[in-house]
Amino acid sequence: MMVAAFLILGGLIFLSGTALIAFYWAARDGQFRDLKKGSEVIFDEDEPIGQPTDRFPVKHTT
């Protein structure tokens, strides 16, 4: 029973700890600064903003 209690409490502290550390790290690292740039990281020159990337298949008979 004791072992289980330690595991549960340990898990709880570990998880909450990770969340707090992650939040602290994100703030320190500047993850919350310049949010506009952050939203654009999934685009690049090959797939730039303004270029759609998916569509229904088109029938080709050659």
Binding site: L15, E45, I49, R55
Partner: protein, 490 residues
């Protein structure tokens, strides 16, 4: 795409390098992700069959009751666990792995970890499902898999979590995109949930009604801290990528993530309103459930404003069609969930089919549709082949969308009628069942539509793997979309 100047200059430009990098990432993801997708689709079919058997048993009592393993008490949990663990989790893992590699912008490392994880995962689901059908169910909702199946699943999870941390550690420097936050959180949260609930309910069972609290803490968090983050991670990537426009408000998306992390894990106790629990526990959970309006509204505003002016894209993009359907369902199901936590409404809906409607709205209309959308985007990039038939995609979408709307509608109306009848002391209990029964026929019919949609999708997936259909003249991935869906050049 290639200008004259570019073809004269042998040194590659940024765009070419980025395309090569992206192709390398997709190529590295090919085997593990397809393994998770393929097995997920297999379990989706099995889960649909089990669902149909369970649904028709509600219409025709005594149907197929001669065999013990086909009785309702086994088929129904077998359905729940195959769709939750076999289909939804595996599909979510596949999507999560691919997104993780793309967002870290590194080719997948240690793919052997993932292949081992996929094998263990499916072994766990197989052993667990057979165990339930053999009569070894543990009778704890969402945890029916017998004790000999759970360690196998847990090993698979551990491998995936470790892989996620390694990938994050070796990511390209720069901003951590909101989808990455969601995925990392999901990869860490689930093993914790699963381990905790197994310790408290199986290994060293706590006593009495506290078991119920642990059970619902777990079951609700599977939805909130595992499926929801993966679904939203997918939406936050797919919607901007498909229409080529960054999210409307990145600030709101970050706020949504952290408020979800703060409030969601408190929600489970709202399943126990009226139960033998301290009042503060239930009250805290009801308050947290209502606070879920914060993350939900931020997500809803964000997705809607991103789509604003681009709704025409729903005509030409399969991914977007499924994803937007999922995103809208997310808003609806979350609002509904917050309202259901309010005790006066809960009195009517609790213990009725209404709840089943709610869970299908969450797990199917939101999560499953989101996964279909992501798969339509990811699979062509993995196999290097375009989806052979636009019509099969259309059939898949409409059967699934109409099917789930009918199902949720029928269960909602049937549930309310049933709930009001249960609540009225003048109505005897048997009548409350009879009132709901026509709606259950409608539900079974909608199940047939969904199953048909799944068969179509499975066939299409196999066609993709075998590279059936026309070879596209140009890679559709990089081409500009055109509004005409069918152009036939004879």
């Amino acid at each position: 795409m290639t200008t004259l100047a570019a073809s004269l200059n042998p040194s590659p430009n940024d765009a070419t390098l980025e395309r090569i990098e992206r192709s390398a990432i997709d190529a590295s993801a090919r085997l593990p992700v397809l393994l998770f997708f393929g097995t997920a689709i297999f379990w989706l079919l099995i889960g649909s069959l089990l669902a149909l058997v369970a649904a028709f048993k509600m219409n025709i009592p005594g149907l197929m009751d001669n065999e013990a393993w086909l009785t309702f008490g086994r088929v129904r949990p077998a359905h729940l666990n195959t769709v939750v663990f076999g289909w939804a989790s595996a599909a979510g893992i596949g999507v999560g792995l691919w997104l993780m590699a793309r967002l870290c912008r590194v080719a997948m490392m240690h793919t052997s970890l993932l292949i081992v994880a996929a094998i263990f995962w499916n072994l766990g689901v197989l052993v667990g499902t057979l165990g339930i059908l053999a009569g070894d169910s543990r009778s704890i909702e969402w945890l029916e898999f017998p004790g000999y199946a759970t360690p196998i699943l847990f090993i698979a999870y551990a491998f995936i979590g470790i892989w996620g941390i390694i990938m994050f550690r070796f990511r390209k420097p720069g901003h951590v995109y909101v989808s990455q936050w969601y995925l990392l959180a999901a990869f860490l949260w689930f093993p914790w949930l699963y381990a905790t609930v197994n310790i408290l309910l199986i290994w060293q069972p706590i006593l009495g009604s506290a078991q119920g609290a642990v059970n619902w803490w777990f079951a609700h968090n599977v939805l909130g801290l595992w499926f929801t983050p993966i679904g939203l991670a997918s939406a936050y990537y797919m919607i901007p990528k498909v229409i080529g426009r960054p999210i409307h408000s990145y600030y709101l998306s970050i706020l949504g993530f952290w408020s979800l992390a703060l409030f969601y894990s408190w929600n489970g106790m709202h399943h126990l309103i009226g139960g033998p629990f301290p009042a503060w526990m239930i009250s805290a959970s009801v308050v947290a459930s209502v606070m879920m309006f914060v993350p939900v509204i931020t997500v809803a505003i964000n997705h809607h404003m991103t789509m604003q002016g681009h709704f025409g894209a729903l005509q030409w993009s399969p991914t977007l069609r499924f994803t937007v359907f999922g995103a809208m369902s997310y808003t609806i199901v979350s609002f509904q969930g917050s309202l259901m936590a309010i005790p006066t409404l809960n009195q009517i809906t609790h213990f009725t089919h209404y709840t089943i409607g709610h869970s299908h709205l969450g797990l199917y209309a939101f999560f499953t549709m989101m996964m279909f959308g992501a798969m339509y985007y990811i699979i062509p990039r993995l196999v290097g082949w375009e989806w052979p038939s636009a019509n099969l995609i259309r059939w898949h979408f409409w059967l699934a969308a109409i099917g789930i709307l009918i199902m949720v509608g029928a269960l909602t109306f049937g549930g309310i009628i049933q709930g009001l009848a249960l609540y009225d002391p003048a109505v005897n209990f048997m009548n409350s069942l009879f009132f709901a029964s026509p709606w259950l026929w409608v539900r079974s019919f909608s199940g047939l539509l969904l199953t048909a949609a799944h068969v179509i999708f499975a066939v299409h997936f196999v066609m993709m793997l075998l590279h059936l259909g026309d070879k596209r003249a140009e890679p559709t991935l990089f081409a500009r979309p055109i509004p005409e869906e069918e152009t036939i050049t004879a």
